[in-house]
């Protein structure tokens, strides 16, 4: 089985189509970033408080918003999170509420606002720490252990917390559910000190303004260093024009990916930046494979035009390019579909990035090389690429003969 056996597509000829396609998406992305959704910074970069809550039953976002308003959190953003039926909600309180004088005030307010039916004197078992449960059991001593109590109750408390978290995803609906995990006497005693709210906090992210701006700077620096490193390595292994072509290609890929996030209004978090840096590496890989073939063919095909050599190189590597792109895309698609909510932004960036990265090696990097050399040849300047030099030489010889 083989795709692309002896392919012979004139890629360079279609370069204006490619350019148009790239321009459309780049401009759309830039427009969205400038005028529409802007750059959707995640909490890592803009600061703020995010509380991820899982409810026992399907929550009504309006009810939640009303509780937040009552607690004075007027700008809280409530968003359903995760797959349908997971009953998860993300509560996002803006930067103003998150200042470093009392960093976790937003979180405390949110949790207090959600705990609407708390009987006084009792703690919420769905949001209690292991230590709280153990301390209560040690005090209550429902199994009448006396000595040796510490070890037994540590195990019981651990079992309770593990059952709640690993089996019930963090939310118990009734105390009886615990009977399968621990001694019934222990379960009975729990009701004396604990009640069950209808939610469990799964994840909290609080980023102060200082850290937010630090991380923004780090992300920018990392991207800049990546690009610089690429330029240097390629200039060293090939010639500097190859480096420039690769950098422009990668810049194009990043722009379209970030633009896509802006168009789709998906948040850019730290892991998304990691994905973008990875796709820079991937797109570079792709470009290098084509460049390697071009370099090899330049030595072999001594009598052909540069554009023919480049076309031939692309066609020869087409099989490999599409295959690798396809296989990597398969794995990243698996990640996007099955990898869970936390990695959604990351995997989306990779899905887009791999498609664009593959396309750009053929559609952007190669044409830049050729266009640059043609431009230099026309100006009569000394030419870097050997083939273009030969073309210019031959033209001189032909003129001289005549």
């Amino acid at each position: 089985m083989e795709f692309f056996r002896n392919a012979n597509i004139d890629f360079l000829g279609k370069k204006w189509y490619f350019l148009a396609f790239s321009l459309v998406f780049s401009v759309a992305g830039v427009f969205s970033m400038a005028f529409w959704h802007g750059i959707p910074y995640g909490v890592d970069f803009r600061g703020g408080t995010l509380v991820y809550v899982k409810f026992a039953q399907t929550p009504d976002n309006n009810v939640i918003r009303a509780s937040m308003d009552r607690a004075g959190l007027r700008n809280a953003r409530i968003q359903s999170y995760g797959s349908a039926g997971s009953n998860e909600v993300l509560i996002d309180v803006s930067e103003q509420e998150t200042n470093e004088q009392a960093l976790d005030r937003g979180k405390t307010q949110i949790i207090n606002a959600l705990e609407t039916n708390a009987p006084s004197g009792k703690q919420d078992l769905n949001n209690s720490s292991f230590l709280t449960v153990k301390t209560f059991l040690l005090q209550k001593d429902p199994l009448r252990l006396g000595t040796d109590a510490d070890q037994r109750y540590t195990a019981q408390a651990q079992a309770i917390v593990n059952y709640r978290d690993k089996v019930k995803s963090g939310v118990l609906q009734s105390m009886d559910e615990l009977k399968t995990a621990v001694d019934p006497a222990v379960v009975a005693s729990l009701s004396d000190g604990f009640f069950l709210s209808n939610f469990g906090v799964r994840n909290v992210e609080i980023v102060g303004p200082q850290v937010g701006s630090q991380l923004r700077r780090q992300a920018l620096l990392a991207t800049a260093y990546s690009l610089a490193g690429m330029l240097v390595y390629l200039a060293f292994r090939f010639e500097w024009i190859y480096g420039v072509a690769a950098v422009i290609t990668v810049f194009h890929d990043t722009l379209i990916t970030v633009g896509a996030f802006s168009l789709l209004n998906k948040e850019i978090s730290l892991t998304v930046i990691a994905a973008i840096l990875t796709l820079i590496g991937y797109s570079n890989n792709d470009t290098i494979v084509v460049f390697d073939r071009i370099r090899e063919n330049l030595k072999l095909m001594r009598r052909e035009k540069l554009s023919d050599i480049v076309n031939r190189s692309i066609n020869q590597t087409l099989s490999r390019t599409i295959l690798t792109a396809g296989l990597t895309f398969l794995t990243v698609l698996a990640l996007y579909l099955f990898g869970g909510e936390v990695l959604k932004g990351f995997s989306l960036a990779l899905v887009i990035g791999i498609l664009i990265g593959t396309y750009s090696s053929i559609a952007i990097a190669a044409p830049i090389l050729v266009a640059y050399q043609d431009w230099r040849a026309e100006r009569g300047k000394p030419v870097a690429l050997a083939a273009a030099a030969r073309d210019a030489n031959r033209r001189e010889k032909v003129k001289a003969k005549v």
Partner: protein, 538 residues
């Protein structure tokens, strides 16, 4: 072509076993659960997979500088008074320039005295003159930087002590590179950050100072009592408890000396105890040097009032009945838990400066286990998709690629086990990506082999050419991706670093499996074929 084929196969088998051991160690039971237990022992899970709390705090180093300059002010006052030089000594800007002390009204004749005083008694400070007989004393730049860095190091030690006493397993407490005077604290398995933060944050700055007046119901009342102006060596501090003289809000105020007779640094031990009334209290013991100073202070102040100040709040005030040496008891309406926490905080040493929280992330264990499940599912599905595709597209050679891929995964996980690196959720994604990018090397080689076969080369020659040509490209692509990963590692935080680590390990492993292992398998296959028999490569 049996050249060293036997040895090469042994090397591969050895590598396989070596890295398998890295993943599961020697499991206690050779069963499903035994293997999983072995796995859990060797592979460290990050916070986002295990659950826990991640904090970034900033040490308020100016607090520590203020303490030092306050002591400098006291020393200046005592010494100047001894030489009968009277000057007005203030700190004009304790918030932004905590090391700056200004002296006004120093008579010109005394300037040489002042200079020798500063160079003898305050060697870390510089003296500069200003207009109108004013002088400025400020810390030398190097001394200032040293003091601030020492404050951070000390803060890390103190926090580590406190967290150790809490019994958190494998905590990470280290200086955070991203900003100034920042500390990173990671506490796996801690699902209640509130209590931990309180314990960490308490500066537990214990000071025993002289009390000149109080309790006053408000700051104004205290000022009135002193005729509107506070004496320069005294300050107002709020009291902790509600007393009979409380004003609205229950806040009382005391007039306390600026200097301390004894501080937390002089503490040798602190314990939970009960006072004369059976109420929870904290007992403390001073060091030898501290005890001597305390004895001399109390000896010369019999009949005066002593205030125990904790974190700049007056804990209790007592009359000095007679000389106290090195033991004492602090009470002040504590609960049992408060005395336990307080004595633990005092034992761990005082924080040299206050801390402010800049970032807090708490991953619940329920999310952690869900993440593991999702990550592993995606990895298995992705891997299966690739394995099956390679078989279909490359036929028998696909088995070659699949073996290389599986070996790649084992080596990668083994690396993780041996190095003790942390596996995070992006790290699992990195494993998945390694599978996708790793197979690229095989594709490069196989496509080249196909091309050579099409051009009429014999199988052995095609294999040779295929590996030879593809090698350069493989090196190029791996190096550039590894450079990307290194940059991610340098600039990234915990989860992103996990990703960079698995990606790099995976690529290194790939260099070995795609080139060496695949080649050995091809050679072995070829050695068993007859001359002219075709190579099954799709």
């Amino acid at each position: 072509m049996n050249k060293n084929l036997g040895w090469k196969l042994i090397v591969i088998a050895g590598t396989l076993l070596f890295f398998l051991f890295g993943i599961i160690g020697i499991p206690e039971k050779w069963s499903g659960s035994g293997l999983v237990a072995g796995l859990q022992n060797r592979i460290h899970l990050g916070l986002d997979l295990k659950g826990g709390t991640h904090l970034i705090l900033q040490v308020q180093v100016n607090d520590a500088v203020n303490v030092d300059s306050d002591n400098a002010v006291e020393r200046l006052k005592t010494d100047l008074r001894a030489r009968k030089i009277f000057a007005d000594i203030t700190k004009p800007d304790p918030v932004n320039n905590p090391d700056k002390v200004v002296l006004k009204g120093v008579p010109p004749e005394s300037s040489s005295d002042l200079r020798s005083l500063v160079s003898d008694r305050l060697p870390e400070y510089d003296l500069t003159s200003g207009a109108d007989n004013t002088w400025t004393v400020s810390m030398k730049a190097q001394a200032l930087a040293d003091l601030k860095n020492r404050a951070v190091t000390q803060a890390i030690e103190t926090i580590r002590n406190r967290i150790d006493q809490l019994g958190v397993s494998e905590p990470i407490i280290e200086e955070h590179g991203l900003g100034q005077y920042q500390i990173l604290v990671q506490l796996p398995g801690v699902d209640d950050p509130g209590r931990v933060k309180e314990i960490m944050q308490s500066t537990a700055m214990l000071q025993i100072r002289q009390s000149f007046g109080g309790p006053y119901p408000s700051e104004q009342a205290a000022l009135q009592d002193k005729g509107g102006v506070l004496p320069p060596d005294q300050m107002l501090l709020p009291g902790r408890s509600i007393g009979p003289n409380a004003g609205e809000g229950g806040q009382t105020w005391y007039l306390i000396s600026r200097a301390s007779a004894v501080t937390g640094r002089d503490l040798r031990a602190a314990d939970q105890t009960r006072d004369e009334n059976g109420q929870p209290a904290v007992s403390f013991t001073l060091t030898g040097e501290g005890g001597r100073r305390f004895a001399s202070f109390t000896g010369s102040h019999v009949g005066d009032n002593l205030a125990v100040v904790l974190d700049n709040k007056v804990q209790e005030v007592a009359v000095i009945k007679d000389q106290i040496h090195d033991q004492g008891v602090i009470n002040g309406r504590f609960t049992e838990q408060e005395t336990k926490d307080l004595s633990m905080i005092l034992r761990s040493g005082a924080l040299p400066a206050g801390i402010k929280y800049l970032e807090e992330r708490t991953v619940g264990p329920s999310l952690g286990s869900d993440s593991i499940r999702a990550g592993v599912t995606a990895a298995v599905i992705g891997m299966l998709a690739v394995l099956i595709f390679m078989l279909v597209y490359y036929h028998a050679a696909g088995i070659n690629a699949d073996i290389a891929l599986i070996l790649n995964l084992i080596i990668l996980l083994g690396f993780l086990g041996y190095s003790g690196a942390t596996l995070t959720l992006p790290g699992i994604a990195g494993v998945i990506l390694t599978v996708g990018m790793g197979v690229d090397s095989n594709v490069l080689i196989f496509e080249r082999i196909r091309e050579e076969l099409r051009n009429g080369k014999t199988p052995p020659s095609a294999v040779e050419q295929g590996f030879g040509h593809a090698w350069i490209t493989i090196v190029d692509t791996h190096v550039t991706t590894i450079v990307s990963a290194i940059i991610l590692f340098i600039f990234g935080t915990g989860p992103v670093r996990g990703f960079a680590v698995t990606l790099s390990f995976g690529l290194f492993a790939n260099l070995f499996t795609a080139v060496f292992v695949s080649r050995v398998i091809f050679d072995w296959l070829l050695s068993r074929k007859l001359r002219g028999e075709a190579l099954s490569i799709g």
